[in-house]
């Protein structure tokens, strides 16, 4: 789960990382009061989960109260890459002499956290890695051993920083690792870490993504589902721990297992159809979950057909069939539906579905089911 900038900064601040003074604003009327505690000029930053926010028009600057209110009002009305702006972070602008990059992420191949620092901040780390890879100092870390302050100092020393900056930057790098470790982060990043001409350092942007599977260990993190997910269907799916991605076609897809579901979506495209979504149940199917999954996908008004593709390995197919039937009887969808279901309990599950009048594909190849459904759509 990606945190909003203001949430990440709050956490960074609590862990002793210097961030610019700021106030969160939710409506233009709050601006006057907010600005009383800040000195001008200010940065006005839309709190949306979008990469390249400044380029997308989500960050503005103001030199006066009037200008600030104007720009806040403007941002509140606009959408940034299609995202509604609910909150705006108004923060004292920091004059940059230098911009550094500090980040920690997981290196999937070695299975280790990797700590990175570069003097070439202010642009995406991917771009630094592509254009000036030699400027990135990095270190892979053993999670059980941890990352030490002296290691942060060693890394920063390679950058040739002044003594004051060496102390300040390595201290922040170390604290950023502490945040990464404590919050089960996928990524914790400061880009840019801004250095003023007085050699003050500030985390001017903050990125913190927490592993979805670890959220249960962090009750202090507010999920704010309404702010994080605008699409009602996506929100409903998340609440039910279903994995849903909206696509732009008209054939609904439900599958057990992400790989199988991705392959199903690919096959629909390969045979000339257009998938409307990707919905994956995972390995915890119950009849309630299956009923919910069918309901969620059928909420999509663009749907012209639905394909359900399940394997009975860990998932109980009889329960899955019962769930599908429940949703079917409740919603009486007026579109063709095919269920392909193979594995443990397949015969019993088939009979439950067929008794309810739902057509079952009994071949093991998903391609057979996909072709059948697409040719049906063609006839309509």
């Amino acid at each position: 789960m990606m945190l909003f900038e203001y949430e990440a900064k709050e956490i960074f601040r609590k862990h002793g990382i210097n961030v610019p003074k700021s106030v969160i604003v939710q409506s233009p009327t709050e601006v006057g009061k907010a600005l009383q505690s800040l000195s001008l000029p200010v940065a006005i930053k839309a709190q949306v989960l979008v990469g390249g926010r400044e380029r997308a028009g989500g960050i503005k600057f103001a030199n006066s109260l009037e200008e600030a209110s104007e720009k806040i009002e403007e941002l509140m009305r606009s959408k940034i890459e299609g995202k509604v702006v609910n909150k705006i972070l108004v923060e004292e602008k920091v004059d940059a002499k230098h911009e550094y990059y500090l980040g920690i992420t997981t290196d999937q191949l070695s299975g280790k956290p990797i700590v990175m620092v570069s003097l070439e901040g202010g642009v995406d780390i991917e771009d630094i890695a592509k254009e000036k890879p030699e400027t990135i100092i990095y270190k892979k870390v053993s999670l059980s051993r941890g990352f030490f302050q002296f290691e942060a100092r060693n890394m920063c020393q390679q950058l040739g920083l002044s003594r004051t900056l060496l102390q300040k930057v390595s201290d922040i790098l170390y604290k950023l690792y502490r945040v990464f470790d404590y919050y089960d982060a996928v990524t914790s990043e400061i880009n840019p870490l801004t250095v003023t001409k007085e050699e003050e350092v500030y985390a001017v942007d903050a990125k913190l993504e927490i592993d979805d599977n670890s959220i249960f260990r962090h009750p202090d993190i507010d999920l704010r589902l309404d702010e994080r997910f605008e699409d009602e269907i996506e929100k409903e799916a998340i609440k039910n721990r279903l994995s849903y991605v909206k696509l732009d076609g008209n054939i609904g897809v439900i599958g057990s297992g992400a790989g199988l579901t991705m392959a199903t979506v690919d096959l629909i495209e390969a045979f000339g159809g257009k998938p409307a979504n990707f919905l994956e149940t995972g390995g915890g199917i119950t009849d309630e979950l299956m009923e919910k999954a069918v309901e969620i996908v059928l909420k999509d008004r663009r749907l012209k057909a639905l394909l359900i593709n399940l394997y009975g390995g860990i998932n109980p197919m009889v329960d899955a069939a019962k769930g599908i039937v429940k949703a079917y009887k409740k919603l009486k969808p007026n579109i063709p539906i095919r269920v392909k279901l193979i594995g443990n309990q397949q015969e019993e599950a088939w009979s439950i579905l067929e008794t309810a009048g739902i057509l079952v594909v009994k071949e093991i190849q998903t391609e057979v089911a996909v072709k059948k459904l697409i040719s049906l759509l063609g006839e309509q």
């Binding site: 191949l109 999670l143 991605v245 297992g257 992400a258 991705m262 990707f278 391609e367």
Partner: protein
């Protein structure tokens, strides 16, 4: 034998008294897997389908020497259970559990590497050596004994591919999922090395998917080190960037992790690419001479 396990492999089931543990233990026993004991804290002294249950791995393993452990433990407790098994000198861990915190997976991998223990998963369907043993959750009826090794990042897609092969009369040596998480215990490249060394395996099938760089890494190994024919199918060609497609690891970030990058790298390494699951059968046909050769 197949890779990693065979009919002699003695198995402990951790989390044996849970709903899934009970059901899957029965299915593994039915298949002929040699389950010697189960572990469930607080349930020591019970039996599950005739398998004795212990409170700790240490107690189970001291009564019943074991080579492998399969974990059905809920995600928050996987780290504890895995380290318990590693420190009890179990040589192979198969972590079925989904939604294990990535930092826990990293920790487990660290400890396992230090102890020389092989970990498969998390989020794996496990391992099946058809007609020999099943340390996993896959429906047994779609697998058949043969000479094709399948390694997959996904679970149910492994079933689909194996089912396609079985239907065409092509049996398998070992089929396994390495797990769909960003960090897994054993990577694709390592499994390919085991298949290359394995006498029973004549052809290898990779079932990959978007996200990460495991396929790209594996391509280098195939090009430099593998003599056996390799065929690959990659899922997620139509996946939009920036969206997590079910698996925590299945996400395209910027230009990284696309199906196209994986396909190109593998193709350049001499791998035959299947555009659809059914193409795999037809891509294997030219190797029938290798498949039918004795030894």
């Amino acid at each position: 034998m197949g890779i990693l396990a065979d009919e002699k492999t003695r198995i402990i089931v951790q989390g044996i008294t849970g709903r899934v543990g009970v059901a899957q233990t029965k299915l593994m026993l039915d298949y002929g897997s040699k389950i010697v004991a189960g572990v469930s804290p607080g349930k020591g002294g019970e039996t599950v389908h005739g398998v004795p249950v212990y409170d700790t791995v240490k107690a189970a393993a001291s009564e019943h020497p074991a080579d492998a452990s399969i974990l059905f433990v809920p995600a928050p407790f996987v780290k504890d259970a895995a380290v318990e098994a590693i420190e009890s000198n179990i040589g192979l861990l198969v972590i079925i559990t989904e939604n294990v915190p990535t930092h826990d997976a990293i920790y487990i991998r660290d400890q396992a590497e230090e102890a020389g223990v092989r970990v498969i998963g998390p989020t794996t369907p496990g391992i099946i050596c058809p007609a020999k043993t099943k340390i996993g959750i896959m429906p047994a009826n779609i697998f058949r004994k043969g000479v094709i090794g399948i390694v997959s990042r996904s679970g149910t897609l492994l079933y689909e591919i194996a089912g396609n092969l079985t239907l065409s009369g092509m049996g398998q040596s070992t089929c396994l999922g390495i797990g769909a998480d960003p960090v897994v215990g054993t990577d694709l490249k390592t499994i390919l090395r085991l298949f290359e060394e394995d006498k029973q395996t004549k052809v290898v099938v990779i079932v990959g998917e978007i996200g990460g760089v495991q396929e790209e890494e594996a391509a280098g190994f195939i090009r430099d080190k593998m003599k056996k024919p390799v065929i690959a199918y990659i899922a997620g060609r139509s996946a939009p960037p920036g969206k997590r497609m079910g698996h925590a690891g299945a996400i395209i970030i910027g230009e990284r992790g696309t199906a196209q990058s994986k396909i190109e790298n593998l193709r350049r390494a001499g791998v035959k690419i299947a555009n659809k699951p059914s193409d795999i059968t037809y891509l294997i046909k030219p190797f029938s001479r290798i498949i039918n050769r004795r030894k």
